[in-house]
Symmetry: C2
């Protein structure tokens, strides 16, 4: 029956997949810590619950990179999106007060290009190392006829831990609390469908063209790595001054800040408190996008908001600046729901 | 600037996404247990580590549904793939001895069809309930221009727990151990790229045509839910008779059984021990696929293999049959690496 069909004829080469897995081993090994009990290739990854905690609570989040991937495809640069993914997930559990333990990725391609897969996973592993979390496992799926040639989707999933009495659940937030906005590093991973339409269609630019007003190319600006706020917030979170954290993702500040505010409380944001980065001004002008729409789609330069005891605001800002990240007092918590701007 | 671009113009409707999320709440709520501390909509899901364990080890796995999704698209049936996904992930951690705690899903679509999203998530929630694990969170990403209209990708992540001294790591496996093969419910989630080529291209069938030899339609046979082996193996795992478990996924028995055998040990499989289900015989004949290729691509009717103390084999088989699942003594562990058939 040697003239019959094989899996390879159908488009799936298990040997290529095996070889790719072999090459990933050292990348994965670089993220191991003393709690990692399994090797790559096990059915499930093993991670010991860190001992010595009174009431450990696991905090978990799943996310994707979204259409930022299309920019990576256009620029043929695949080593940064993994970092974006890890950092996004880490930020999502940081806002509950958790530090990451481990991460798993899901990578789906139309056809397996070993070099591209390795670049992508290198980015994931870099993100894991920088956040001190283990890359515990993942799935690389070859799905012919599913993704356009040269394209892929990438999703990830983080598990972290927090002591039960240290969970940031917003119950300590009061009217009058200060809002410290911490700088984003660019668009992070949100608003790319609109941004790509403006940059590639309306402005007619290519990935390696300069993006007006930014001093950088389209690829440099749009592939800037989503910032992890773990390094700058680790210390402030050890005190009781931080009452809540909001990660500014899809929905912008108006969509995300209310998620951490107790019922009946809102926020007043002072637009003059920080300078909107050039990339957002360029996008708004070229796309003639309404300001309210910009606020809902993009982070506008603020990637994380710390809701803090007013007397603690200065020390949080000092902590971020000590690590080279700008932050500003951008407003305060108010009576009455919703986010207003002045 | 009301004539400028909006996110909706670019293809993303945040309001539709918000409404879809609202509808999912009750589905998610149906999977909660006493350790689930968060509501849908939190940045990260919260799950308390079950108290009373001496040395809890977390076991985690990521997986996708693969091109089985294409069958769901063709059949316009979206409520089973979520169960397949959960069960696949649960099996992957069960083989390490772990029971599931919680699950997260990643669903990516080109455009958000609320009804389809709800069907998919209903399947995921059903899978979670049946495995007694909480649907702790997930991401539903709308990525216009990424997926063909009406198509989507679905991936998932499970976290389970096992006492450190109950981890199934294969160290107890000895030559002479019995291999109990437990029936699959069909193709599970592997080999679909080849199966679809044979069924839809070579045989020229449609999703609702009868699949010769099976007494079922193509959709019924190819969308059969991937079986979870948690219900049939929960009891056997409480004893010390089970030395190892192999989940028969991509790579078939020859690709997966060696993953749990200690170095220097192999397996002899008796082909006559069980009857190959009709669907595999039909696929092999129609595609004129070599038997070795069938073995590497499909599970051939065996979805899980338990490596057991020989005296314990009967009781494992009795346990599966008591729950309506067939199992057979399909071979034994041998000196020397690799899987042979007789």
């Amino acid at each position: 029956m040697s003239d019959g069909l094989s899996y390879r004829d159908a488009g799936v080469d298990l040997e290529v997949a095996e070889r790719a897995k072999e090459r990933l081993k050292s990348l994965v090994a670089s993220t191991r810590d003393e709690h990692t009990l399994s090797e790559l290739g096990a059915f499930g990854g093993l991670y010991a619950v860190p001992p010595g905690m009174a009431a450990p609570v696991l905090v978990s989040s799943a996310d994707g990179v979204g259409t930022k991937l299309k920019v990576a495809f256009a620029a043929r640069r695949h080593d940064t999106v993994g970092q974006c993914l890890v950092n996004h997930c880490v930020n999502d559990i940081l806002v509950q007060g958790a530090r990451p333990l481990f991460f798993l990725d899901y990578l789906a391609t139309g056809e397996m290009d070993e070099t591209v897969v390795q670049e992508i996973v290198r980015g994931v592993a870099t993100g894991c190392r920088e956040n001190q979390c283990a890359l515990l496992g993942g799935e690389t799926a070859e799905m012919p006829g599913f993704y356009t040639s040269g394209e892929y989707d990438l999703a990830g999933f983080v598990v972290g831990v927090v002591e039960r009495d240290r969970i940031l659940d917003g119950t300590k937030i009061r009217a009058g609390d200060a809002l410290v906005g911490i700088a984003s590093s660019g668009l992070h991973t949100n608003g790319y469908t609109l941004a790509r339409k403006i940059v590639f269609e309306v402005m007619g630019l290519g990935a390696h063209d300069p993006l007006p007003g930014t001093g950088r190319t389209v690829a440099e600006e749009l592939l800037a790595v989503h910032r992890s706020y773990l390094p700058v917030l680790r210390e402030p979170l050890e005190s009781d001054g931080v009452h809540g954290l909001a990660h500014v993702t899809g929905g912008g500040v108006p969509g995300n800040l209310p998620r951490v505010l107790p019922a009946g409380l809102g926020a007043m944001i002072d637009r003059a408190a920080w300078e909107i980065p050039a990339v957002f001004r360029t996008l708004q002008q070229a796309g003639r996008v309404a300001t309210e729409e910009m606020d809902r789609v993009f982070n506008m330069g603020i990637g994380m908001i710390a809701v803090v005891e007013p007397s603690f605001a200065e020390s949080v800002m000092a902590a971020t600046r000590a690590r080279g990240v700008e932050s500003w007092l951008i407003g305060s918590v108010t009576e009455g729901a919703g986010v207003s701007y002045r």
